[in-house]
């Protein structure tokens, strides 16, 4: 649990130190002073410069900081001193205590260093808890590799797709080793680690249950619904397996409860050490049945009250009782206590007004640009595929039939998902996530796109599951049951043009993605956005110039000089290949 620092900039600064976990010294204490001491005379950057000027005594530094410090900022420093998890060296601690007028506390004697346990027979042993990261003993100079196998099922990682988190010193000890990004350790997470020695060989795997990080374990086991293969094997049984056995369905030891939505029968299964199902695992059911799945890591959701999502047995008539609950909100739309900030409104507008058109598609407040960009591409180049994708059941429900590739046979199987018209909405009107351009009125808004997105969220797990990035080509596969591919555009202008012409002329969908990491600055003021997916609407030629016509799935925001601000614009091929990193297309 991060400590509660009220000053936003100071909080950001401290969070960065938590990530690096290096002990804080006098320099960092001055940075804290600069953040709390900024005011009418100085901003934080200029105050830091003043504080660091040669000849400025500690007393002067303290006085400068105190001049701009508010009561709240004083409290923030006290919080850092009393609750901060990043070690403060004695000088920095004493200095900060003086800043807030607190008598300096004597530095407690350093406890004797416990004898170093020898590496276990595995070649790697972990010591202590994980409050400051992973620590332990292995061979001198070995690098430490780790993967968070609690979070890994949500991505595309194999169980041995580790990242290097640290290195053992000359005595074989390592400490403060941390996983970052989506893999950042939280209380109760399972972390799989090993040491890689100088000769390239490795220790045995060791799995650690992270402790000492937060007051309680509040992250439940993640379930990759999209890896669950379920099929009718006759005799009233359906088999359940991991369709991508090299990646996890969930964390080892997690329990999954399957509830047959037709019969109400429940069955429990424990995830194996490799993150999959026990061989031969079956459930009572038949083609067309849908199963609600709830997971527990043994600490969270132990009553299985909260469902993760649903899987449906392909084939058979769709059950009349398989209406799927609304998918959960993205984590950004939950408050600090994990409660939803938004509620649903029943939308009753027409499914289609005048067939599916790319202009219908408007991305909502969700990081899933790849999805609306792909849906607009399908609507542009193959609108019949949209008409085949979603059906109005005439009773306020709709069935969206996705296609799931069976990697063993290469064939696609149908995955029907039944949803109603309830969509998360803003208090002042309009759908929160994907919506349509014609109206925000719940009685008038065209529904095909928001309902397909809702069904996709439910199939994959939640709006959170689909709202943290993805690939346009995966959506072509999932919605059309076709093979799709992507290509890098680097130095591939001619090849890209040929592919665009070929795909557009064949009336197949295609899209493009911009660069992300480290290249964001080149997009500012261009009208094109970094780390973003676009629909390729077509191509144009004018003399020797060749243009790619694109659409921003926001339905607005485009380079200047492209007419109405509807998100549709064209770029010269040369500019397209400079600004875009990848192209995605139906093969």
């Amino acid at each position: 649990m991060p400590i509660n620092i009220g000053d936003r900039k100071l909080s950001t600064l401290y969070s960065n130190w938590e990530r690096t976990a290096q002990p804080l010294g006098k320099d960092q204490a001055l940075e804290i002073l600069a953040q709390v001491g900024d005011g009418s005379r100085w901003n934080a950057a200029s105050l830091l410069t003043e504080l660091k000027k040669p000849g400025v005594s500690p007393e002067k530094q303290i006085a400068m900081a105190q001049a701009g410090m508010t009561a709240g900022e004083k409290k923030d420093i006290a919080t850092i001193l009393d609750q901060g998890k990043v070690p403060l060296d004695a000088t920095a601690r004493s200095f900060l205590e003086k800043v807030i007028g607190r008598a300096s506390t004597p530095t407690p004697p350093t406890p004797p260093t416990p004898p170093t346990p020898p590496p276990a027979a595995t070649g790697l042993s972990v010591t202590g808890n994980q409050a400051q990261g992973l620590s332990g003993v292995t061979r001198a100079g070995a690098t430490i590799e780790a993967i968070n196998i609690t979070t890994a099922p949500g991505g595309r990682l194999h169980m041995d797709d580790t990242m290097v988190v640290g290195k053992a010193d000359a005595s074989g000890q390592f400490s403060l080793a941390k996983l970052t990004g989506e893999q950042q350790m939280r209380e109760g997470d399972l972390v799989r680690m090993r040491a890689r020695y100088a000769d390239g060989t490795t220790s045995d795997w060791v799995t650690v249950k992270a402790s000492g990080i937060e007051a309680k374990d509040s992250r439940n086991a993640v379930v990759a619904l999209f890896r669950i293969g379920i099929s009718d094997v006759g005799g009233g049984k359906v088999s359940v397996d991991n369709i991508n056995a090299s990646r996890q369905v969930s964390e080892p030891g997690a329990k999954l409860q399957f509830t047959n939505n037709r019969t109400g029968e429940k069955a429990l299964v424990t995830i194996t050490e490799t993150g999959g199902f026990p061989a031969g695992f079956t459930l009572n059911g038949k083609a067309g049945d849908s199963f609600s799945i709830a997971a527990s890591d043994g600490v969270n959701n132990t009553t299985f009250a909260q469902a993760t999502g649903n899987v449906t047995v392909p084939g058979g008539a769709a059950s009349t009782t398989d209406l799927i609950p609304d998918p959960a909100l993205h984590k950004d739309e939950l408050d600090a206590a994990g409660k939803p900030k938004f509620s649903t409104v029943n939308f009753t507008g027409p499914l289609f007004i005048d067939a599916a058109r790319p202009e219908d598609v408007q991305q909502g407040q969700l990081g899933n640009c790849y999805f609306p960009a792909a849906m607009a591409a399908i609507a542009k180049h193959n609108p019949d595929a949209i008409a085949n994708l979603i059906k109005d059941n005439g009773d306020g429900t709709y069935t969206v039939t996705f296609k799931q590739k069976d990697w063993a046979t290469g064939k696609f199987k149908e995955v029907p998902v039944k949803v109603d018209g309830d969509l998360y909405a803003r208090s002042y009107g309009g759908a929160l996530y994907g919506h349509s351009s014609n109206s925000s009125d719940p009685k008038k808004m065209e529904l095909w796109f928001p309902l397909v997105e809702k069904a996709y969220a439910q199939w994959k797990g939640s709006y959170n599951t689909i709202g943290n990035g993805g690939h346009v080509s995966d959506v072509f596969q999932d919605c059309m049951g076709v093979d799709a591919s992507s290509m890098s555009l680097a130095s591939n202008g001619e090849r890209a043009w040929e592919q665009i012409v070929k795909t557009v002329d064949a009336k197949k969908p295609l899209g493009a993605g911009t660069f992300g990491e480290d290249q964001e600055a080149k997009y500012t003021n261009t009208g094109v956005y970094a780390n973003h997916a676009y629909t390729i609407m077509g191509y144009e030629k004018s003399g020797t110039d060749r243009f790619v016509v694109l659409r921003n799935p926001w339905g607005e925001s485009e380079p200047a000089g492209n007419g109405a601000n509807d998100g549709i614009f064209k770029l010269k091929l040369e500019d397209f290949t400079k600004l875009y990193q990848s192209m995605y297309f139906q093969t």
């Binding site: 950001t12 600064l13 950057a45 990004g181 989506e182 709202g467 990035g469 990491e517 500012t524």
Partner: protein, 119 residues
């Protein structure tokens, strides 16, 4: 990030200044946020860029106290600034730039409409 900008109705109430300005200088850059693990070519991964402290030359104040220059912070976000970048900047009371894409978040036309509605 590749999420659309936040609805302007949610952002305008937080703006102490709304100015037409140009970035004169990037004064400081914060540490790089952690790299988001993602399959190559994935978009909307949520990767953020480092925070920046920048000096703005203000050419027009649409809302707030008259100023000629402002030193403001660009938070960790899905965009980055460099000298010469320009456009409408919405800035809060802590001198932090609002809007998911800074000066590319909203057009002047949309901002002026939102300000008029607020009045």
């Amino acid at each position: 990030m590749a999420k659309p900008p936040e609805p302007i109705e949610d952002v305008i109430p937080q703006a102490t200044w709304v100015v037409d300005a140009e970035v004169l200088e990037v004064l400081a850059t914060g540490p790089q946020p952690p790299k988001v693990e993602a399959k190559p070519g994935a978009t909307s991964t949520g990767q953020k860029t480092a925070s920046q402290t920048v000096k703005l030359k203000v050419t027009r104040v649409l809302h707030g106290e008259k100023v000629a220059e402002l030193v403001v912070e660009k938070p960790e976000a899905g965009y980055a600034l460099r000298a010469g970048n320009h456009g409408p900047f919405l800035i809060d009371s802590t001198k932090t730039i609002l809007g998911r894409y800074g000066p590319d978040s909203y057009s002047f036309e949309r901002i002026e409409k939102a300000l008029a509605a607020k009045r």
